[in-house]
Amino acid sequence: MAESAARPEIGPDDRIVVDHLWKSFGTIQAVRDVSLRIRTGTVTVIVGPSGSGKSTVLRCMNHLEVPTSGAVYIDGVHLGDRRTNINLIRREVGMVFQQFNLFPHLSVLDNITLALRKVRGRSKTEAEAIAMAQLQRVGIPEQARKRPGQLSGGQQQRVAIARSLAMNPRVMLFDEPTSALDPEMIKEVLDVMQELAASGMTMVVVSHEMGFARQVGSHMVMMDQGRIVEEGAAEDVFARPQHPRTKEFFSKIL
């Protein structure tokens, strides 16, 4: 199905292109005909009610979910193409999960060095130097020797971000990175993400943190029932939401 569709136009600035994406789980239509462009250096915030398909769209962007039809291109590479080695793509795409998904049996340092060594082929010393630099960046180098279970939620999420950053990705995907955190820890994670955005990282963030979306977001996407109902420059969508569902959503959440 995906092969028969014409390849969309992809400019040099288009880091991710989602083209007529459909995804169903059995009888559930999770994503219906979503098309989206993520430009290099932008921060796209995806919002929408629970079950509207935000996570599914995000997860299709690194093929954790395989589209039912339609296509996702990263730097012009069609993820669903049989010739595409998805492992090569994924090392360039960082992903941060709501539940952190740190490896509980490994130290914080080993959580970060594992893929550097196995995927990037770095030596132990090189990998540890990179890992320490990233831990420094997220502000917790002193936790390197601990197990994830000994850290607070906010610290764990920062380790997860450091783990992704260590791979030197071209784009970072965040799926509700602060939703599992106690309120007092949300800020430390958002601060790291803000710093990351300021450094020019291309980011796609599913989040209900409207303060963050407003300050850091450059692009805003509102989803409802598997469709994008509104999108545009973040400040415009905030200032003048057009779609009734967006207005309703903002009035509930703000």
Partner: protein, 269 residues
């Protein structure tokens, strides 16, 4: 739950506290004392009654085969179980169905029948194919092959459950970093799975030790066969089977206490 000043609440609170206080007595392993008492009684009989002592002397050499068969079969069945268990969760439908076929076949036939089948049908057929004279494969070896193949299927299910108990997010996190499915399995999923399956493996080791008594079916002189041979010549059934029970029960008791200890330590860690 009508409000904080409701009279019943304090009583409910007390009721919650009380069993917790009593639990120290309730949780005392009375069964363990009973088993230890039974074992002690048996030990006294064996030590003091001459005929029981004699039976013990005759039967005890069988322990080397019982222990040897158990250890070798356990190692082999872990190897088989790991392969079949990973096959069971493989995304390749051919591999997965091969693994399921093996596991369900084994689970659908009584152990006794499987042992007879493997020892007297499968091994002879195998040795014919390989061109080895049938009697070149000793009964001990046949029995170990049979037990390993049988327990391999049981242990495969343990590994499968262990792998499935690792949260889905772990595989996703590994794959998102660019690790392959196999790399994620090896470095992330299996190390966590093995920790959770250790107690279950311990329990299967105990079952395997007990099932090693089926060696008697093939005339292999383990503890059980030694006891049966002794009754055949002496007609001392009381002596032989009390000694035999004593030996198995003391071994399994020690092992199950070790497994409990392991479980407690893993639970804390």
């Amino acid at each position: 739950m009508t409000g904080p000043d409701h009279g019943d609440l304090s009583e409910a609170g007390a009721a919650i506290v009380e069993p917790a206080r009593r639990s120290s007595v309730r949780d005392l392993p009375l069964w363990l004392f009973a088993i230890l008492a039974i074992l002690a009684l048996m030990a006294v009989v064996i030590a003091t009654e001459a005929s029981f002592g004699e039976a013990f002397e005759v039967i005890i050499p069988g322990i080397s085969l019982t222990v040897g068969i158990t250890l070798v079969s356990f190692v082999a069945s872990i190897a088989i179980g790991l392969v079949a268990g990973l096959g069971r969760v493989s995304r390749n439908i051919v591999i997965r169905n091969l693994a399921i076929t093996y596991i369900e076949f084994i689970r659908g036939v009584p152990i006794v029948v499987l042992i007879l089948m493997i020892a007297f049908v499968v091994v002879p057929a195998g040795s014919r194919i390989l061109g080895i004279p049938n009697n070149a494969v000793p009964q001990e070896t046949r029995f170990i092959i049979a037990l390993s193949v049988i327990y391999g299927a049981f242990i495969a299910e343990i590994f499968r459950a262990g792998v499935e108990a690792v949260p889905k997010g772990q595989m996703e996190a590994g794959r998102s970093l660019g690790l392959t499915h196999a790399q994620t399995m090896r470095s992330i999923i299996l190390p966590q799975a093995i920790r959770t399956v250790l107690p279950a493996l311990g329990n299967d080791f105990i079952s395997l030790l007990k099932d090693s008594a089926l060696a008697t079916l093939l005339g292999v002189r383990d503890l059980t066969q030694s006891a049966r041979l002794y009754t055949g010549s002496s007609f001392r059934f009381d002596e032989a089977f009390l000694v035999l029970t004593f030996l198995y029960l003391s071994m399994t008791l020690v092992l199950s206490l070790l497994v409990q200890q392991l479980q407690r330590r893993l639970g804390r860690g």
